[in-house]
């Protein structure tokens, strides 16, 4: 495993407090960022509610965007941490192993067949795609849980989901719908409404609750599945718990924000030494860290100069892919 020296172990809760404060600060900060230059007095005016435009900007544009960053970022960070604990592999991440791409395919399929645009069928289809991909991966990883076979399975699932998505787009009768889907798949929180938040939030919260229940089991898995079982953990129940939780989180997130990769890879990787590599204690900090990362990254894309706002998924991929390469390099000894 990673050979870096572990930093001094923080007092239980200090890390959580720090990350919570970070999320809070970034959340407030993100409310002030956007094309319209607004300051703190404007926020109070918006809350007081005597200026219609200010109100609309804060409540209809900025707040949903920040809320989605928290929900999607938190759920992606948590999904990564839980999947890595389940598969005992630091490279297991929804984007890397094809779960996000499969959710994207599910969403595209639902969009393709639904005339009404975004409806409840989109997150449901995305969650189904995510669940099937995770289940398939677990079946493949059970035979041989090595890093290499997991990554290869991920490559295959990614390729399959990508091919099916391309097929759906290829057969799309409407070129405008096509451009929309491609843009949306890149991942962004721009121009999202309360409707998106309300649609995704219940599923994401449910998924996160399931994943947060997995801590005890993931801790047992440090010594492998059989020892975990001998310690009173039910491995089948644990697999189902994490698979369902991750599918709910990733599916609902992808349905409203598109594919935002590498959050679940980068965040647990950074935080793991700070919790003594304990897969259970990693869960909450990863959720907070994911929320902070996406709030920060989403603020960054709004701060960058230039006419065209960068897609968030593009930014996270630019940050995440090098980390992924670094992780492959440092875990190469595990590859057989």
């Amino acid at each position: 495993m990673m050979m870096r020296a572990a930093p001094a172990r923080l007092h239980h809760g200090a890390l959580g407090l720090f990350l919570s404060l970070l999320v809070l600060v970034l959340f407030v900060l993100s409310l002030f960022l956007g094309p319209a230059d607004l300051g703190l007095p404007d926020l109070f005016k918006a809350i007081d509610g005597d200026d219609g435009i200010l109100q609309a900007i804060f409540w209809q544009i900025r707040l949903p965007r920040a809320l989605l960053a928290v929900l999607v970022g938190g759920s992606l960070g948590l999904s990564g941490a839980a999947l890595q604990g389940l598969l005992r592999n630091p490279l297991a991440e929804p984007g890397v192993i094809g779960v996000s791409a499969s959710a994207g395919f599910g969403a595209v399929l639902a969009l393709y067949f639904s005339a009404a645009g975004l409806s409840l069928s989109v997150p449901l289809a995305a969650m189904t795609g995510a669940f099937l991909a995770t289940a398939l991966l677990l079946v493949l990883a059970r035979r041989d849980a090595s890093v290499l076979s997991l990554i290869l399975a991920g490559v295959a699932i990614n390729a399959l989901a990508g091919a099916l998505t391309a097929l759906a787009l290829n057969l799309s009768p409407n070129p405008f719908a096509l451009a929309d889907m491609v843009h949306w798949l890149m991942g962004s929180f721009a121009d999202r409404s309360h409707r998106d938040v309300m649609m995704a939030a219940p599923f994401i919260i449910m998924g996160m609750a399931l994943l947060l229940l997995s801590g005890r089991g993931l801790r047992g898995l440090v010594l492998g599945e059989e020892t975990a079982q001998s310690l009173g953990i039910n491995p089948a129940r644990l697999r189902l718990l994490v698979t369902l939780g991750a599918a709910l989180c990733v599916g609902a997130g992808v349905a409203v924000a598109g594919a935002i990769g590498f959050v679940g890879l980068v965040v647990p990787h950074i935080l793991r030494p700070w919790v003594g590599y304990d897969p259970a204690r990693l869960l909450w900090p990863s959720a907070l860290g994911g929320a902070a990362l996406l709030l920060g990254a989403d603020s960054l894309v709004r701060l960058l100069p230039g006419g065209q706002e960068l897609k968030l998924g593009v930014v996270t991929a630019l940050i995440g892919a090098p980390v992924f390469l670094h992780l492959i390099w440092s875990t190469r000894r595990l590859m057989r």
Binding site: M1, M2, A6, R88, L213, G215, R216, R219, G220, L221, V222, L223, G224, E226, T227, Q229, S230, L231, G232, I233, N234, R272, G276, Y277, D278, P279
Partner: protein, 253 residues
């Protein structure tokens, strides 16, 4: 107290591994389960640990892995698997604390009783000085003792260990067997799979010899390790001294 299975059969991937074996371990005794590779020792041990479903008796009554609550079963017997992998570089103390999992509720942090049990397990195995080291960076001897400490931390009345001395040099192997014997003396029922026949003869109160999924001899070392049994199960000839035996070749078929 006795942990026992009677006339059980186990099939894995359609192959019959254990064929009607009966085995019992009582509190305070150290039982060595011996036999050649592929005899079914590990599989039988896993069945006793509640990790594998099996069939029982002449009627082949299926017994699932968890007839009672899986957590309750985990408190009854600690299982120390063969070459267990440690997947994350957690500290030795955290690793040993895993032994307390059967006692914890999902939302509960380790209370005082757990701390005491963890400390006890570390001190009895001579691992206190390792407590803050990453569990992935240990020598084979340290690692074996730490994994034993993890099993002891459960405080279960039965301990099932699968080849705990496989990777150890003679001195470390003696140390490990001393620790297991101490546990038995303290009242734990210890069942240990061994390949070293001398260690088995020296430490075990009772030997159980397995061959092709069946138990073919059971009892004191003199009786179990006679020429006939060794030729039949291991297919070896041995030279003997007062407290030792050395394989000198394969027996004629």
């Amino acid at each position: 107290m006795t942990l026992a299975v009677r006339d059980i059969s186990i099939s894995l991937d359609g192959q019959k591994i254990v064929k009607g074996a009966s085995l019992a371990v009582s509190s305070g005794e150290l039982v060595a389960l011996i036999g050649p590779n592929g005899a079914g020792k590990s599989t039988l041990l896993k069945a006793l640990a509640g990790l594998l479903p099996y069939r029982e008796g002449a009627q082949n009554v299926p017994v699932s892995a968890s007839t009672t609550s899986i957590r309750k079963a985990a408190r009854l017997r600690a299982w120390l698997g063969q070459d267990a992998v440690i997947h994350w570089p957690v500290t030795v103390e955290r690793l040993v604390a895993l032994g307390r999992l059967p006692h914890l509720d999902a939302f509960q942090a380790a209370p005082h009783a757990d701390r005491e049990a963890i400390h006890q397990a570390l001190s009895r195995t001579g691992c206190l000085h390792l407590a803050d080291r990453p569990a992935t960076h240990l020598s084979a001897g340290e690692r074996a003792r730490v994994l034993l400490a993890r099993a002891l931390a459960t405080g279960a009345p039965f301990l099932l260990a699968d080849e705990p001395v496989a990777a150890l040099d003679p001195a470390h192997a003696f140390h490990m067997m001393d620790l297991l014997a101490e546990e038995a003396k303290a009242g734990c029922g210890v069942l240990v799979v061994l390949h070293d026949l001398n260690l088995a003869a020296r430490y075990a109160d009772r030997l159980v010899l397995m061959h092709e999924g069946q138990i073919i001899a059971e009892g004191a070392a003199d009786h179990v390790l006679d020429d006939h049994n060794l030729a039949r199960s291991y297919g070896i000839r041995v030279a003997r001294g007062p407290h030792w035996l050395v394989p000198v070749g394969r027996s004629e078929p």
